[in-house]
Amino acid sequence: MVDYAGRGFHLNVCVWPDRVVAAAELLDRNGFALDAVTGMDWIAENEMEVVYDYFHPADSCRVVVRTRVPRSKPEVPTISQVYPGANWHERETHEFFGIVFLGHPNLTPLLLPEDATYHPLRKDFVA
């Protein structure tokens, strides 16, 4: 539990990468909606973070689920079978950060050119 007024969400959960699908299923059963999926590059710790935001359509409750993976092998299972809306968010996170969502049906660039092989939001990206 975190302070909503200070941070903007109610519950902050850190899970192992193999538990993100279980977390999504749990929130799905409780009626939560998918807000966004986001990446973050913690280059100093040599880690990548994937952040899943959820909101509830009827209650004032914001849940943030986080997971961290090594930068050398950034792989997380996809949650797009639980939340189809995650499909695009994961494609975006993949192209910006190079994080691979295992089992994703179509992990092609969404916003970048179709032949893009670079990941612009990585902290070591040089244009």
Partner: protein, 376 residues
């Protein structure tokens, strides 16, 4: 001569073809491309292709100071720039613990609601243009012009506003603006009634929109669709009520919902929302407190404490969330912009499967997309 055999739409087609819509097409309102796999006039699969106007605002956030990113926020959804200004400044205020004077909060609410109306008026005109009615656009832009003039007088710009500052707004409103607000409320109310009789009750429009493009509550939840889309499916989800921010708690207003989930429901939600925004503006102008409009204690060089902060607002098209990550430096570590149109468009493929092409374009219009908001 025997009659040609008619193939029912449910049968497996003998032949399909791909129809390309856009990226330059009047119905896409910007540079969006739709790749439609068609079975005759029926859509089998509609795949939106995005990214034609991608500008990488999130990366720009990482190479300029907290304040220098402010103008970017007005250029994501250019039709509802105020709400985007609001989410970003409020996220930074939350991080740096900056208090905002009450007068500034009221001005923020008034200007955001005026901007919401002007955005809905553009949608109203453009949507009817999509459906083949040209006249309403001219009426809508006439009303919108009044708002643009008023906002230009206080903010200095007509579209891509950059009016809010950390700790308030950059310019106080004057008596002319207050009078303008009151006049505008008095002007738009009868105009909305006229739109009702002129457009909403028109049988041609009703036939075109009723029962077309059903989107269920469940689909909205799974795709994270918000704003008039989720409210047109009967869910009273509005960030202004569910996570009340600024001074929205102090106003009496309703969240219009329509349970039908079709294009008409989404249309009616937006029309009703304009009336609700007028109520908010009226109350806010009456209650507008005196005092400063900018907090005096804001440091020139801002270094918010390290951490991860979110702020969500109800923009004209739905929930807009800003996540900022600070590492206690002058520039943000990460700025994440979760935009409503992105999620609203992502359900398009599922919602339009099996639909006829002109109906799918009506659905596209009823989602009220702003393409720079999707592509960022």
């Amino acid at each position: 001569m025997s009659a040609p055999e008619v193939i029912p739409a449910s049968d497996k087609p003998c032949e399909t073809f791909v129809l390309n819509v856009g990226p330059q097409h009047p119905a896409t309102h910007g540079v969006l491309r739709l790749k439609l796999t068609m079975d005759g006039e029926y859509i089998m699969r509609a795949e939106p292709v995005c990214g034609y106007i991608h500008r990488m605002h999130e990366k720009m956030g990482e190479n300029r100071t907290w304040a220098q990113f402010l103008p970017n926020t007005g250029r994501i959804d250019y039709l509802a720039a105020m709400a985007y200004n609001h989410a970003y400044v409020a996220a930074v205020e939350r991080a740096a613990k900056i208090a905002v004077p009450p007068r500034a909060e009221y001005i923020r609410v008034i200007t955001t609601e005026l901007n919401r109306i002007s955005s809905h008026l553009v949608w109203f005109g453009a949507f009817l243009l999509d459906l083949g009615g040209f006249t309403p656009l001219l009426y809508a832009f006439d009303d919108r012009e009044q708002i643009l003039d008023m906002l230009e007088a206080v903010t200095g710009s007509r579209l891509t506003y950059c009016y809010y500052r950390f700790g308030g707004v950059c310019n106080d409103v004057d008596a002319d603006f207050i009078r303008g607000c009151r006049d505008f409320v008095a002007r738009l109310r009868p105009r909305l009634k006229m739109y009702r009789t002129l457009v909403t009750d028109n049988i041609i429009l009703r036939k075109r929109l009723e029962g077309i493009g059903f989107i269920s509550q469940e689909m909205c939840r799974k795709y994270g669709a918000t704003g008039p889309v989720i409210r047109g499916s009967g869910v009273a989800y509005d960030v202004r009520k569910i996570e009340p921010y600024s001074v929205y708690r102090e106003f009496d207003f309703d969240i219009p919902t329509f349970p039908e989930g079709d294009c008409m429901a989404r249309y009616l939600v937006r029309m009703e929302e304009m009336a609700q925004s007028l109520r908010i503006i009226e109350q806010a102008v009456d209650k507008l407190p005196d005092g400063p409009v900018l907090s005096s204690g804001v440091p020139r060089v801002l270094k918010p404490p390290a951490g991860d902060y979110c702020f969500a607002v109800e923009a004209a098209r739905g929930r807009f969330l800003v996540r900022i990550v600070s590492d206690n430096k002058e520039i943000p570590y990460r700025v994440r912009l979760r935009t409503p149109c992105f999620s609203n468009l992502s359900l398009f493929e599922e919602a339009t499967a099996g639909m006829m092409l002109p109906d799918a374009l009506a659905v596209l219009g009823s989602l009220d997309l702003v393409i720079p908001d999707i592509d960022r």
